[in-house]
């Protein structure tokens, strides 16, 4: 028995237009993992997910899902996967409950079993009150939940979410994070692609970064974040100053007379920073991260390539 939920070897995809979207990538995701697949637009994320879920045909390479080679028994492999696509892909005229029951039926669930599971999923995702509404009448957030309900109806062991929170407001996004985390806690392996790097940092244990069809980083989130050499913070000052201070180990930039941006070397502590600022009679009112830590890393990795 394999410990891997997903095993990709030398996967290549060349589209009819001649665009080479994947250039022989290798990727492994262990069972029970919460895995992030990051990359800029056009990097090859959607092609990878499309191949795993059968929406895109691969040019060469192997893909195994829980040890099942998709070239040997794709239908059995498909039973293990649930896919939350990036774009809404249900009929706008069907009722919410019908959409979920239809998806259950496509997976071969009997009418009785589909109703039992469908009602349970709709209740757990807060869609029960909307079950008789046509899907086009749902808000953007509820449509996203319906996408998850569809993907969960056959109780997949691997759930792939392709930018599930794109265009969703913060409150709903956080609600969805809780929901996905709970699924992972219950044993479902999760693969997440997202543009919100904060999302990946908060949720995922392991990460791969893909760029120009190649995996440029594949490690644990902890190890990746440990590579971060410099962190930037925004400091709101108690009293305005005229120019940015100059200190070794710290790089300052004055955004406006009351706001200072500081880049701190990894070796330095916050205590050192505050001591130095005190010496200069600069008092700090508040402080916050300038940007997401992973974002800085991501940009570095992509830039390096």
């Amino acid at each position: 028995m394999t410990d891997l939920a997903l095993e990709i070897q030398a996967l290549e995809k060349e589209y009819a237009s001649g665009v080479k979207a994947l250039k022989g990538i290798n990727l492994s995701v262990t069972k029970g993992d919460f895995f992030a697949l990051l990359g800029p637009n056009g990097a090859g994320k959607s092609s990878t997910i499309g191949i795993i879920s059968s929406l895109v045909t691969k040019t060469s390479g192997t893909v195994k899902i829980f040890g099942i080679d998709i070239d040997r028994d794709f239908n059995e492999a498909k039973r293990q996967i649930g896919v939350v696509a990036q774009e809404i892909n249900f009929s706008p005229f069907e009722k919410v409950r019908d959409i979920v029951l239809t998806q259950a039926g496509y997976y071969g669930l009997s009418k009785r079993e589909a109703i039992l599971r469908g009602d349970k999923v709709l209740k757990s995702l807060g869609l029960w009150d909307k079950r008789d509404e046509q899907s086009r009448n749902l808000s953007g957030g509820l449509k996203r939940r319906l996408m998850i309900a569809k993907a969960m109806i056959h109780e997949p062991k691997l759930l792939i979410l392709d930018e599930p929170t794109a265009g969703v407001d913060i409150e709903l996004r956080r609600g969805m994070w809780d929901l996905i985390s709970k699924l992972n806690d219950d044993g479902t392996t999760i693969i997440l692609t997202t543009h919100y790097l904060e999302e990946a940092e908060q949720l995922c244990r392991n990460i791969a970064i893909i760029d120009h069809g190649e995996i440029v980083e594949n490690t644990s989130m902890k190890e990746l974040l440990a590579k971060l050499d410099v962190q930037s913070f925004v400091i709101d000052l108690e009293h305005p100053i005229e120019s940015a201070p100059e200190l070794s180990h710290f790089t300052f930039k004055l955004q406006d007379p009351s706001t200072l941006i500081v880049a701190i070397d990894k070796q330095q502590t916050m205590n050192n920073l505050f001591t130095e600022l005190n010496k200069l009679n600069i008092s700090v009112k508040s402080m916050r991260n300038e940007s997401n830590r992973l974002e800085e890393l991501f940009m570095n990795v992509i830039k390096d390539e």
């Binding site: 879920s53 929406l55 895109v56 045909t57 896919v83 009418k111």
Partner: protein, 259 residues
């Protein structure tokens, strides 16, 4: 759950969805052919028909009935599948089917059953309308009539499926019905027997596949046909098999549905 049961439930689900789709919009899918055919019966049957007299020894309105039923069955079966399958492609809900473990043959059969069901229901409705204009109508060979009805609906459902596979826009799903299907049906003996044509055009008409469908159905309903019924039935079965194999090949290859 066994694979056979899974396959049964997936086919049941797709078929139910397809039938529910056209039943929900019955005003667009079932009523228009009945209304259009009523107008044909009024104008060509009741008003002009008596002046024409008989066609191959049969009252003109009676001669028209099988042809008009076939016209409705063919267009309904074809348009049901082409619009439904292109619709799921357009809305991307085809992804629901493709990511599921449903075999391609079940996807094909599900859409064919949907198109066939609509074709048969519309055919039956047009027949009921025709009884209003010609109450004494009696079907000569019910078994042949039903066989031809079902085979025709299946054949044109598959054709609609193939059209939808290749279609990239809404224009693509109207071009074939408008510029190919309708002219062939109208020139395929719906309103006349090819025996009234000069020999040259009779020979040309024999190359029109609709002629075989319409005449075989007329043989079933009236016991009168311009062509060989057994040849026509064999050709229908041959084309159903050929086009089904082609559809399955395209589904496997992912033409028009997978990147």
């Amino acid at each position: 759950m066994s694979r056979k049961k899974e396959i049964f439930w997936s086919l049941y689900t797709l078929t139910e969805k397809e039938i529910r789709r056209f039943m929900r919009i019955w005003l667009q899918t079932l009523v228009p052919p009945a209304v259009t055919m009523s107008l044909y019966f009024v104008i060509f049957g009741s008003l002009i028909g008596p002046r024409i007299g008989q066609m191959n020894g049969i009252d003109y309105i009676q001669f028209m009935i099988p042809g008009l039923i076939m016209l409705a069955v063919i267009t309904s079966s074809y348009s049901n599948v082409v619009s439904s399958f292109f619709g799921v492609k357009f809305q991307r809900s085809i992804e629901e089917l493709l990511i599921s473990p449903m075999p391609n043959i079940i996807i094909l059969i599900g859409f064919i059953i949907g198109g066939t069901a609509r074709g048969i229901i519309v055919g039956f409705l047009v027949f009921l309308v025709s009884l209003f204009f010609y109450p004494e109508f009696k079907i000569v060979d019910p078994l042949l009539t039903i066989n031809v009805l079902v085979l025709t609906a299946i054949l044109f459902s598959i054709m609609g499926f193939l059209n939808a596979i290749y279609a990239d826009s809404f224009d693509d799903i109207t071009i074939v019905p408008t510029f190919v299907l309708t002219p062939l049906i109208y020139l395929g003996g719906v309103f006349y027997s090819i025996t009234i044509l000069p020999q040259f055009w009779q020979n040309v008409s024999l190359a029109n596949p609709m002629l075989y469908v319409v005449n075989t159905f007329r043989q079933g309903m009236l016991g009168e046909s311009d062509i060989s019924v057994s040849f026509s039935l064999m050709m229908m079965i041959f084309f159903i098999t050929l086009l089904s194999v082609l559809s399955l090949y395209l589904l496997k290859k992912g033409t028009g549905i997978r990147e």
